[in-house]
């Protein structure tokens, strides 16, 4: 279970450039929940995932995962619990190293790294099996540099790497946004199948309304560093892309109104 409690973060605090991507976010994700996060550009979705993964420390609030208070854990320590796929396909793989070597790194996520050989036969056998299950023909290219693959192939492999050892939490940050539509579809199908089959606790950011509506069992909408909507269960199942657009439109209209003016109007007309 992931428990985010009143988490806040400011960049460049106290300067004219101050940004506050997280302004008291609280969110509890039970085990095996597949939660989707949406929101306009710059509303703090990536920052939320970064706060959980430990890319930076939060200014306020706490983060608990799997029974541990990880608020002050450095990123590499949290990685023992967290699997991650980034938006940019270049971020998740070591380009000059082979596919097999990249996996040999992922296999030891959260384990010690000593002087044993990184590639051994039993790993290669299992790797061939698992990569073959992607149906991308990559099992014949395990000794090729992973940098020579397409973005879609790299994201599929990164997903496999992130989940090779079952993570307590899987973080996906618009991991298909940089792909062409066909590859994006493929990676999304793969993602959904994997998460369902393994019952992975997942927090996934997406910009694509169809994905937001059709995937997952819960949907969270962020706006200006806050969570403004949170639907799950039957309500989530009934959701249509149009509903989400309406919600965005509501937010935009509210924006136009200064809170004090809104209060006056409300007093006058309601």
């Amino acid at each position: 279970m992931l428990e985010i409690t009143r988490v806040a973060k400011a960049f460049h605090a106290g300067t004219p450039n101050e940004v506050r991507p997280l302004q008291g976010v609280s969110l509890t994700i039970p085990d095996r929940s597949f939660t989707i996060v949406i929101g306009t550009n710059g509303c703090g979705k990536t920052s939320l995932l970064n706060a959980v993964a430990g890319t930076f420390f939060v200014d306020d609030g706490s983060i608990h995962l799997d029974g541990h208070d990880i608020t002050r854990w450095p990123e590499h320590r949290r990685a023992a619990l967290i699997g991650r796929v980034f938006q940019n396909p270049f971020s998740g793989t070591a380009p000059t190293m082979t596919i097999a070597e990249n996996f040999s790194l992922a296999v030891r996520r959260g384990l010690g790294r000593g002087l044993g050989p990184s590639l051994h036969r039993s790993l290669l056998v299992e790797l061939t099996d698992r990569v073959r299950s992607l149906n991308m023909g990559l099992e014949n290219r395990l000794q090729h540099a992973i940098g020579s693959l397409s973005g879609g192939q790299r994201q599929a492999l990164t997903l496999l790497m992130a989940t090779w050892r079952r993570p307590a939490l899987l973080l996906l940050d618009e991991h298909t946004a940089a792909l062409d539509p066909k590859s994006a579809d493929l990676v999304i199908q793969l993602t959904d199948a994997l998460i369902r089959r393994e019952g992975l606790t997942t927090l996934m950011v997406t910009h694509a309304m169809p994905q937001a509506v059709h995937l997952g069992d819960r949907l969270v909408m962020m706006h200006r560093g806050r969570i403004v909507h949170d639907v799950s269960g039957a309500e989530k199942q009934r959701l249509r892309p149009g509903d989400l657009l309406d919600r965005f439109e509501d937010l935009r209209r509210q924006e136009l109104l200064d809170p004090s003016a809104a209060a006056l109007l409300q007093a006058a007309y309601v």
């Binding site: 450095p74 990685a79 980034f86 971020s91 070591a94 000059t96 070597e101 790194l105 992922a106 030891r108």
Partner: protein, 313 residues
């Protein structure tokens, strides 16, 4: 012939430097100026210990450790104290200048009357040669001592290259390579990037110091100036090596660094024979590295504009 053997011996000793620079520059993706200081440090430590009667093997080992320690410092300044990488190297290199003077006690320590690794090699060599002080190689008469020194450094570099190759394929070594390739990714896989970089720089500078220690023993003195420009020399070797083997694959890249060092030595020898003023050597080396760094990007750019133009035509 003695001259040729001497040039090869120097080349092989500097190949060790090239391997060290390969580790920092390519594996860790870090331009490490500490190299200039740790090369001299290796020479200073070995010379001082030899003069005080420590066995050559222990003294040479100590110089590796001293260099590794200097590399650790640069790694900590950069990763822990968040000082820019180049500046971290400059700070440690500058500090090492004083350290080296203190270690040696003066600016030059001669090693002519002390036992060195070369003495060991000579003893073994003379034994193997059946007690003859000189050998005939393709009709040339050469001192057994020279051949033994060459054989010893070749053996040493082979062993070190093999150990490095093995290490870079262990779980730890693979993580080190990934650190230079994509720190964001390896952090997300649970590796402490700061520790990895520090370890990589320690290894790199240990090898560089070892190279300095061997050079001091071979040429018979340690000098506080001997490290100047070594980083550029190492870079030149690594870059030539990459051009020779044309791949980033670890085993070939290590072999490439060794060959690059030898080839560069050869080029320098030829240039000097053709009348290059020795004072211009460092300038030419720097200029060469400049060209090697700039040319590939420039060629691709020209090539891209060409192909773009031909598309529009």
């Amino acid at each position: 012939m003695t001259l040729v053997i001497g040039a090869w011996t120097m080349g092989i000793i500097l190949a060790l430097l090239a391997i060290g620079v390969y580790v920092s520059f390519r594996i860790c993706d870090f331009s490490d100026i500490t190299t200039d200081g740790s090369f001299t440090l290796g020479a200073a430590v070995v010379a001082t210990l030899l003069v005080t009667g420590v066995s050559p093997l222990a003294a040479t080992g100590a110089s590796f450790l001293a260099g590794a320690f200097a590399g650790c410092l640069t790694g900590i300044l950069h990763m822990r104290c968040k000082i820019h990488g180049l500046l971290a190297g400059i700070l440690v290199m500058t500090a090492l200048y004083s350290v080296n003077l203190h270690v040696m006690g003066k600016s030059n320590v001669p090693l002519l009357s002390t036992d060195t690794l070369g003495t060991y090699a000579e003893k073994i060599g003379v034994q193997l040669a059946g007690g003859q002080p000189s050998l005939h190689v393709w009709g040339w008469e050469v001192a057994t001592k020279e051949v033994a020194a060459l054989g010893a450094v070749i053996g040493l570099v082979l062993v070190i290259a093999a150990v490095l190759y093995w290490f870079l394929h262990t779980n730890l070594g693979t993580a080190l390579r990934a650190t230079g390739d994509n720190p964001q990714m390896i952090r997300a896989l649970g590796v402490n990037v700061g520790t990895m970089m520090t370890m990589g720089l320690a290894l790199a500078n240990g090898l560089v110091a070892l190279s300095g220690a061997l050079l001091a023993q071979y040429q018979g003195f340690a000098d506080v100036q001997m490290g100047i420009g070594m980083i550029v020399l190492g870079l030149a070797s690594v870059i030539i090596g990459e051009a020779l083997v044309g791949t980033k694959q670890v085993g070939l890249a290590i072999a490439g660094a060794v060959m690059g060092a030898l080839l560069f030595r050869l080029m320098v020898g030829l240039a000097l024979r053709w009348g290059l003023n020795p004072n211009d050597l460092k300038f030419m080396t720097a200029f060469f590295v400049f060209l090697a760094l700039i040319l590939p990007g420039w060629v691709t750019k020209v090539w891209k504009t060409r192909s773009a133009e031909s598309l529009h035509a």
